[in-house]
Symmetry: D2
């Protein structure tokens, strides 16, 4: 699992605050685990907008970037009405992939509620897997100082 | 990741067939990854009903069994209208946990579409983590020939 | 609201049985209202497969049929583990629309749990509203004895 | 259907801006209709927080307020990446109900994208319908100048 100590100052990251919806909790009043992928998606969108690598940019360049691997680990119960902050960290890799780590915190007391990670690959418009970084993504990485 | 070869004949398992809903595919006509937790949940319910270890039984015995860890790995695109079969395998462990592995197949051609695993722990009615197997679960394991 | 007495014997209809998922109930252990559109969708798919008017057929003929109007009325609480039957009834209309009525029953005791209705229109591939019935749909209506 | 002209200046109302998630659009890149109940729920939460009538307040007073009737009408397609504003309007009624009207606008150009309405009733902790306004709700109405 991701070690948060590795998030050095020069790590690309973003944050999104979310207030838990009534529809997201289960009969124990705890967020249903199927909501984590949604929270992570919200964080990816915040990251994409901040760094110019959102879904529309990816589509506009002729690619689709589906998630092929996702994991999350529950630490403490997230309950109805709680405001959480989802931190997303870009994890550099040489492969033609986009890898993110996630940390969810309770805004009120700063406690870590959950962690996770996701991996995306690139498909072209014929749904074929792309084995090397698309040009637009390689240029984006260079621009961000990642190589 | 789960090696399917380890699913020996005496492994407790169940299956659920699911026809992909229109609402579960994204703008590429591929199942949105956030649907995998739902498919896995359907398989757990099939397992629970088959072996007498469903949520209502767990609740009735005074416990709640939230997922604390989930992962899935995409292999091939699941699309609208496809009928898939979700196989669920019980993975024995000494810890006070319920661990499952999952495999999703395309019914039409038998291809493996995705894999995954999940871990559940036990909380009592005061939301406290239980460190040893609850009696009802230990009895269930013995009855199933698991030790 | 739909009067169930109007469902005469020659009404086109279909049914789908659904067992309520744990993820579909809220903190009162009652199905969250946002699940009704999903149950209605399941019934539409059952209808579409039975009568040859499913989404893929509509797409294949060059159209998209989004819902433009939906309503539902709660009668009794649907709870976790309950098996429900969603009955769907085709309501003939001269307009270029597909209108359905829905009734949800508790399978165990036959009680009516909820009702609803939906209206779909036709868009062409340029997302333009179609004001007269597409040929394929008009032919389908004739074939079903609807005029 | 709700006539927006009736929303006079002294109408209790609230607004919530929402950016459409990738997971909320279907294979036509249009928001799936099952997302409208979620958008309306977001607006109700905004209203509840603004006027002190949120779910936790209702629960704290010993009641549950499930939706028993919901309808929505599509006007124009809401697409991925669009920022929408959901306006919610409290519709006074003498019955022991909470009735809201909704209007969804495209923030960029102010166009009306969808409308809707919802009705909630009160259940006590034994899940029994309450036929007269609970005291806390009657007091809230008086405080808001509604009666």
């Amino acid at each position: 699992m991701k070690n948060s100590k590795s998030h050095t100052n020069d790590c690309l990251s973003a944050s999104r605050e979310i207030t838990v919806r009534f529809s997201e909790v289960d009969s124990m009043n705890i967020v249903w685990h199927g909501s984590y992928p949604l929270y992570f998606e919200d964080a990816r969108e915040a990251f994409g907008h901040k760094y110019g690598i959102d879904y529309l940019t990816i589509f506009g360049n002729g690619y689709y970037a589906p998630l092929v691997d996702l994991s999350f680990q529950y630490k403490r119960p997230i309950v109805y009405g709680m405001t959480i902050r989802v931190d997303i960290f870009y994890r550099p890799t040489d492969a033609a992939k986009i890898v993110f780590d996630y940390e969810i915190y309770n805004v009120a007391d700063g406690q870590l509620m959950a962690t996770g990670s996701s991996t995306q690959v690139f498909l072209d418009k014929q749904y074929q897997l792309v084995w090397t970084n698309p040009d637009f993504y390689q240029e984006w990485k260079v621009k961000q100082g990642i190589n």
